[in-house]
């Protein structure tokens, strides 16, 4: 059974590239363009891992992570945050909110894939 990964990023191109890479590796992908959009899609589907950006309009990544941790059916989902080197404080905040893994931007798809594979193999 293929594992499903949700990618949350406001950049459509980013979602596209990551999505192609993930599908190529054998994952199912659900895309969302911000935290709110993502939350609305977290219902009735099995999600094995969430990859989320931090800086997003409407609902930022940290608020999103906090919200996920309140959802009965998704609260234990591993979350990889996409951070930049400069966002050390945000990284801390994301960690406290419940995201324990991260990938530093910019990255090549293989880097993200490797990080994901440690948490969920396809």
């Amino acid at each position: 059974m293929a594992k499903t990964i949700m990618i949350v990023d406001d950049s459509a191109s980013m979602r596209q590239v990551v999505s192609i890479a993930l599908k190529g590796a054998g994952y199912e992908v659900i895309e969302a363009c911000d935290g709110k959009d993502a939350l609305s899609k977290l219902t009735g589907v099995k999600i094995h891992l969430i990859v989320s950006d931090i800086n997003m309009p409407v609902m930022d990544g940290i608020t999103f992570v906090k919200a996920v941790k309140q959802l009965d059916h998704y609260k234990f989902t591993p979350i990889i945050m996409l951070t930049t080197e400069m966002e050390d404080d945000k990284k801390r905040a994301a960690k406290e909110a419940g995201a324990k893994a991260w990938v530093t931007k910019p990255f090549q798809p293989p880097i993200l894939l490797a990080a994901i594979a440690k948490l969920v193999l396809p």
């Binding site: 891992l49 609260k75 234990f76 989902t77 591993p78 979350i79 960690k95 419940g98 324990k100 893994a101 990080a115 594979a117 440690k118 948490l119 969920v120 193999l121």
Partner: protein, 728 residues
């Protein structure tokens, strides 16, 4: 086994406990054959020993305990009844297992001895009721099947041992241990896994969302430690991770450690990270724990690493050994400290002042006849003397480095000239003041190039002259009476006296009828404008060199002389003071004026007794024990216009410079005295016969005599013929 690795020690203890529990349970079964607790305890003993032995690659133990485990599993499932016979067999199995463990722990890698083999077989027969088909090989096979041991990786002692202790919240944080272990599989082969749940509470209190799992994984992989650690990158907050490298790595690490460059002392952690035995994370964590430990006797890093099963003892030992070796090496190297030359100069100046004020004190002590202070003053002046010597030593460097630099020059120039020349260096360890070394470099270069250019002939010429094809230039240095002597000699064509004389006459330096000694002729080459070669080479230039060389050397209170044998070679000898700062002086007085003669040049002092010595007052020489000695009255020399008044008693100070000797007539001898040379101002730079001045303790100024110059004067005044007799 004193060097048993800690994991093995733990294993050994664990086995002891398990076997003891097994024995108790077996004895308990005799009374109550159906006691499930007892049966479980026996099963657990065999099961756990099998698992741990697999981790360490103790295949014999695995094979045997597997048989016992299988039987016990059947007992547990009620498929086989426990009876007195089985209990006694299992007791024997327990003893046998202990023996097997002893064997593998203390005879690592050795096959089982015959007796144990037979016992092994016999017990298996008694356990299973039938001989294991084919004996040991079959159990091996079964074992291989069971553990899925790849034949290529069958050396299971060559496994990484990864210990993972997950924390309570790991699962809640989305860190599923299974995910990491799955990913681990992409890097190699999981050989064995032992799962323990040491913190598992009573079932009623167990929270399913909490994580109680601890894993010990035998992992076969060629990946490096960092890569394996990175698998658990995201788990590090939720898991205690220990990665113990396989034994083969251990040897690899020891090798790598031995090959580490020894250029700087590194901390233990740094070295181990560099060779990949340790990851930065492990170092950081272990150091952090070390800091956390309030214990006054915090354990060193190495000990902690071994204790925590992060690294094996031998690797740590090798690292510590290496560290010590590097430390010693660096220490040896760091015996040298780079000091700003200006600071050293200042120190030496201060020491100079100290010497002067020491002399002042001495004077006051003598003046006031303070006999009780005398001892103290003496001690102090000794100390000051030592300080002075030591301070000057600080600035002493070996001349070898200067000499060695000429190797390159000789090599390059001889090639350019089409000559074969070798440079021989001796006495490179002779020391002299750095300031002198710096200033001697130019004159030396000139002299060496002279030898290269004009001295050594081309190979053809040399062969025709019956000399070896290859010419030799020698640089030699040695100490002589407080001075350093540097010789530059070659086995070249030597100086031609006739040509020098001819040239000197042509230049008007000497008169055609003048009779000169050989050494006088040779010293003519130091006269300005005299070059022995008509055509100037681009290396040593036109004869402007030698007079400059001479001037430079004399500016250092040194002297230069040349000796040569036509067709045999030339030798230039340079005398230099060891230092320019302080000299041991000998103080004399003439015409109420004090003079310092460098002590090293004072041969002897005799009473100027007109009866005893045949004093020739006109020609200014004395016959000193049969030796003709030119002399100079210092009072007359420096106070030419003053009519000098003879004191009752005069002294003759016999001085020597190189080969030349002369006598200075003085009124009074004041004895030895440490003299700090204060250079004279520009105005007096060219004063004849004066090399410098010094301030006396009394505040008076004494002139330091330029002995070489004065000897020259003395000879001039004396009969020239006599002067020649005494050389130079």
């Amino acid at each position: 086994m004193s060097d048993m690795n800690p994991a093995l020690e733990t294993f050994s203890q664990e086995v002891d406990e398990l076997l003891t529990a097994m024995e108790e349970a077996l004895l308990g079964l005799e009374g109550a054959p159906d006691d499930a607790d007892c049966i479980n305890s026996i099963f657990r003993a065999m099961h756990t020993i099998k698992g741990s032995s697999g981790l360490f690659g103790f295949d014999d133990v695995v094979a045997f305990t597997h048989e016992a485990e299988t039987v016990l599993d059947r007992v547990r499932n009620g498929e086989r009844l426990i009876d007195a016979e089985l209990i006694s067999v299992l007791l024997a199995c327990k003893d046998h297992t202990a023996q097997l463990i002893q064997h593998v722990l203390f005879n690592e890698g050795e096959p089982l001895p015959e007796a144990l083999q037979q016992q092994n077989q016999a017990l298996i027969v008694r356990l299973t009721g039938a001989p294991a088909a084919g004996g040991m090989p079959s159990t091996q096979e079964e074992k291989a099947d069971h553990f899925e041991v790849d034949p290529n990786t069958s050396n299971s002692s060559d496994n990484w041992v990864i210990s993972l202790a997950f924390k309570k919240d790991a699962l809640r944080n989305g860190m599923d241990p299974l995910s990491f272990i799955r990913y681990l599989q992409t890097l190699g082969k999981i050989i064995e896994v032992i799962i323990t749940m040491p913190a598992l509470p009573r079932i009623e209190d167990m929270v399913p969302e909490d994580c109680y799992l601890n894993f010990k994984i035998a992992f076969n992989s060629s990946a490096d430690k960092k890569t394996i650690e990175d698998v658990f990158e995201f788990a590090e907050d939720d898991c205690d991770i220990h990665i113990l490298p396989p034994n083969s790595r251990q040897e690899h690490y020891v090798q790598l450690l031995a090959n580490l460059p020894e250029d700087q002392v590194k901390r233990l952690g740094e070295m181990l990270v560099e060779i990949g035995a340790l990851t930065e994370k492990e170092v950081a964590n272990t150091l952090h724990e070390q800091r956390e430990d309030d214990d006054a006797e915090a354990k060193p890093l190495g000990e902690r690493l071994v204790e925590k099963n992060i690294l094996q003892q031998p690797v740590i030992e090798q690292a510590l050994k290496k560290q010590e070796a590097v430390k010693q090496k660096i220490n040896k190297e760091s015996n040298y400290i780079r000091v700003d030359a200006a600071k050293l100069g200042y120190l030496i100046n201060l020491v100079g002042e100290l010497v002067i004020s020491g002399a002042a004190m001495r004077l006051m002590v003598d003046k006031h006849g303070l006999s009780d202070v005398d001892d103290v003053a003496s001690t102090m002046s000794h100390l000051v003397e030592d300080i002075r010597d030591t301070a000057l030593q600080l600035r002493m460097v070996q001349i070898g480095e200067t000499f060695t630099r000429f190797q390159r020059v000789v090599h390059d120039v001889s090639k350019e000239l089409g000559k074969q020349i070798q440079l021989q260096i001796t006495g490179g360890e002779s020391e002299l003041d750095k300031t002198v070394v710096e200033k001697i470099n130019d004159p030396l270069t000139h002299l060496v190039r002279n030898s290269l250019d004009h001295g050594i002939e081309s190979p053809e010429v040399r062969v025709r002259a019956g000399k070896p094809e290859k010419g030799t230039i020698q640089l030699n240095a040695y100490h002589d009476s407080g001075r350093i002597v540097i010789q530059i000699s070659d086995d070249g064509k030597g100086l031609d006296p006739e040509r020098i004389v001819a040239k000197a006459i042509a230049k008007g330096l000497i008169k055609p009828d003048q009779v000169l000694s050989k050494s006088e002729i040779y010293s003519l080459i130091f006269e300005p404008g005299l070059s022995t070669k008509e055509e100037a080479s681009n290396l040593s230039g036109r004869g402007v060199g030698m007079d400059v060389v001479k001037r430079n050397i004399e500016a250092l209170r040194g002297s230069v002389s040349v000796d040569s044998e036509l067709g045999q070679g030339t030798s230039v000898t340079i005398h230099l003071p060891l230092t320019l700062a302080i000299i041991d002086g000998f103080m004399v007085e003439a015409q109420q004026e004090r003079y310092i003669i460098p002590l090293s040049m004072v041969e002897e002092c005799v009473e100027m007794n007109s009866d005893e010595w045949q004093i020739d007052d006109v020609q200014h020489y004395v016959n000193l024990r049969g030796q003709v000695l030119p002399y100079l009255r210092l009072g007359d020399f420096f106070h030419n216009n003053k009519k000098h008044t003879r004191t009752q008693r005069e002294s003759l100070v016999v001085v020597r410079f190189g080969e030349a000797k002369a006598g200075f007539v003085v009124d009074e001898l004041h004895g030895e005295n440490q003299t700090v040379i204060k250079p004279l101002g520009k105005l007096f730079e060219n004063l004849d016969g004066i090399g410098g001045a010094t301030v006396l303790g009394s505040g008076d100024v004494a002139l330091i005599l330029d002995v070489q110059g004065l000897i020259h004067h003395a000879k001039k005044r004396a009969n020239p013929a006599l002067a020649l007799l005494s050389g130079v």
